[in-house]
């Protein structure tokens, strides 16, 4: 293994080098160099994820409020899939944007978001986590609006508003949860939360704060808006890697495994199930492939929410729940990444066989998402069901059936996605760019292989478990349903007429916002923009002033002055006499 003195350096580089290169891309002179090196940087993070010893911590007391970077099992899983996805997306992006004049700016934000993503995974204290979370969130804004279209700006606006709201909720939660301003290590925080007097408030704030990132209902609205407008590699990392930061935040900050919280457990499972079905149902009504994928992400994140809900149920369930969540995250990151990158590749195809190859390739992650046997999806579902065994509240069977039902939906949604793919669309890349194909292929292979590396049980037993009927039937039903729908194509059209605008509940919010804006404009804005606060400096008492001036003239007349003279003498005399 690498000696400890090299270790911190490597970690710094993994986090810092992207930032340095991000700055470099903005410089006229160093831009091309930085661009050339940009896709390689996530490999540093991958290296850390592979070689760093478990449970090692690097303390940086001089940084911020005393930063800690560390490595544990969670970190390792997250770091691996994050780095892998970013690497592929990075190379992909270089090819994808090769003709884009603003690609330097794209890479600046890309690298900054990368740095944030890697940093937050490595962070071992609340403030550092928050720091990198913010870095990632704000940097992604540049990715979302990169195309500069109206839709992109709209998506960006929604995104940034939610980011700010999320940051605010998070920082409020942090204020409440840290036991002291300088005691911010995770080890201290999570136990403090369980004992905190305002625990429920903290949990609510944390759930909502990270829920925005994790696409939790109803805070998911930015996802379906942002993914279609962002450049494809950006969508891949947004949906594959960054969305998982929300999950990681939950794992790090929620008092899961610290006690029994049946209320929150029920809430999370309910919310997760709702998301799982809601995402599918709305996704089916979409006409854009990337939007459909976005809704799929919402749906899939619902499963991870369920895992968190299991963790809330009891400390006993948590180890199984967290490993299920990690596996699910890993699987979903790679699969969703491959699907997104595939969307771009499909736009590249020039002839039939290429299309069939791509579709075949895309089938793998699609099936994986649906949880088909032998896929990583099956592994993840298995882990989740294992975790359910520890779940004391509901009858597990009932819940398992619901999960299977959701898998049916996912299958149909994936079919719908494949149907929506538009070969030969617009692209900045030249035809058949290897820069697009190769990263996609690598990711495809990863989807197939990598998850198995993280399965602790003997592979043989696992394989046999995935081959069970319960893994088969949802996919089968889904395929049949999809086939029927395709056969009777008008049904699809029917779905099209039912089309829900992407961003669904956002419509209501938008309406509310515009109502508020009208009120603001008509009532408050003039009030707020005016100068009425200068009340102190305004004095206009012309009437009194005129009277004063007139009286001053009267005082100057001898008779009046004399009267006053005598009067005052009298008053004074009177005070002597009577005083």
């Amino acid at each position: 293994m690498i000696s400890l003195s090299v270790q911190p350096l490597l970690w710094f580089l993994a986090v810092g080098l992207p930032l340095v290169l991000a700055a470099g891309t903005l410089l006229r002179r160093y831009g091309p160099v930085a661009l050339a090196w940009a896709p390689w940087t996530p490999l540093l993070a991958l290296a850390v994820g592979v070689v760093a010893p478990s449970d090692s911590v690097v303390s940086l007391p001089w940084l911020l409020l005393g930063a800690q970077l560390g490595m544990d099992a969670t970190t390792r899983v997250f770091l691996c899939f994050t780095a892998l996805l970013w690497t592929c997306a990075g190379f992909y992006a270089r090819a994808y944007l090769v003709e884009d004049p603003a690609r330097q700016r794209f890479f600046a934000f890309f690298l900054a978001a990368l740095s944030g993503n890697v940093g937050l995974v490595l962070a071992h204290d609340a403030v550092t986590f928050y720091l990198f979370f913010a870095l990632m969130s704000f940097a992604s804004y540049g990715l979302v609006i990169h195309d500069g279209t109206r839709e992109a700006y709209r998506a960006g606006r929604v995104y940034i508003i939610l980011v700010v709201v999320g940051e605010v909720l998070l920082v409020s939660a942090l204020f409440l949860m840290v036991p002291g301003a300088d005691t911010v290590a995770f080890s201290a925080v999570s136990s403090a939360v369980a004992a905190a007097p305002r625990r429920d408030l903290i949990v609510a704030l944390t759930l909502a704060g990270f829920g925005i990132k994790a696409g939790m209902l109803p805070l998911h609205v930015w996802l379906p808006l942002a993914h279609p407008v962002a450049p494809t590699p950006a969508s891949a990392v947004l949906s594959g890697a960054m969305i998982k930061a929300g999950l990681l935040g939950w794992i790090r900050f929620l008092p899961v495994g610290e006690g029994t919280f049946p209320g929150w457990s029920g809430f999370c499972i309910g919310a997760g199930l709702l998301a799982a079905f809601y995402g599918v149902l709305i996704g089916l009504t979409q006409t854009n492939a990337k939007t459909a994928l976005a809704y799929s992400s919402i749906s899939q994140m619902g499963f991870m929410t369920i895992a968190v809900g299991i963790g809330f149920a009891s400390p006993v369930a948590w180890p199984a729940a967290v490993s299920a969540a990690l596996l699910y995250a890993l699987h979903h990151a790679l699969a969703k990444g491959a699907l997104f990158l595939g969307v771009g590749v499909v736009q590249q195809v020039q002839n039939g066989w290429q299309l069939w190859v791509v579709l075949a390739g895309l089938l793998c992650p699609a099936l994986a998402l649906a949880g088909a046997p032998l896929t990583s999806g099956a592994l993840a579902k298995l882990a989740l069901k294992d975790a359910l065994a520890f779940f004391p509240l509901f009858r597990p069977g009932w819940l398992e059936h619901l999960l299977s039902l959701a898998a049916v939906g996912t299958t149909v949604l994936m079919a719908r996605f494949l149907y929506l793919l538009q070969p030969g669309g617009h692209s900045h890349a030249p035809r058949l760019a290897f820069g697009l194909w190769v990263p996609w292929m690598v990711l495809l292979l990863s989807v197939l292989g990598v998850p198995w590396l993280f399965v602790s049980q003997p592979h043989g037993a696992v394989v046999s478990k995935t081959l069970s009927f319960s893994a088969f039937w949802p996919v089968g039903v889904g395929v049949v349903l999809a086939g029927a729908a395709w056969r009777f194509g008008r049904r699809w059209a029917l779905l099209g007429t039912l089309r829900v605008p992407s961003g669904d509940v956002l419509i209501t919010v938008t309406w509310l916002m515009s109502w508020w804006q009208r009120q603001w404009r008509s009532l408050l804005a003039p009030l707020m923009a005016g100068k009425q606060e200068v009340w102190l400096a305004r004095y206009r008492i012309t009437g009194i002033e005129r009277a004063v001036l007139r009286m001053e003239g009267q005082l100057g007349r001898w008779a009046n002055a004399g009267l006053l003279f005598l009067l005052l003498a009298g008053v004074l005399f009177a005070t002597f006499v009577f005083g």
Partner: protein, 102 residues
């Protein structure tokens, strides 16, 4: 009631008349004259204090004070009159503007 009191009363009467005239009369010459009447009133009051009965010699101090006062009054009057003439030359009036303008 003795002569001194009578003189005093005459003095305060003169003073009051003078003061009234000074305040009520806009013409500057009248004002100056009124001031002199007021002065005379004060002189009278002061002179009355010198009286110490028919037998005793009068108090010389008030005499001296009045003499000094007269000289001062003369000076002030002369100056005021000269000023009055200049004002009349310059403005064509012999009263102050605040009392002229109704």
């Amino acid at each position: 009631m003795n002569a001194a009191v009578l003189y005093t009363l005459m003095g305060v009467g003169l003073f009051s008349i003078g003061l009234h005239g000074f305040l009520a009369q806009p013409h500057l010459l009248r004002k100056v004259l009124a001031l002199n009447i007021m002065g005379s009133g004060v002189f009278a009051v002061l002179m009355a204090t010198a009286w110490r009965g028919p037998q005793l010699p009068p108090d010389p101090v008030p005499h001296a004070l009045v003499l000094t006062g007269i000289v001062v009054a003369v000076s002030a009057t002369a100056f005021a009159l000269a000023l009055l003439r200049r004002i009349h030359t310059a403005t064509g009036r012999a009263s102050l503007p605040e009392d002229t303008a109704a």
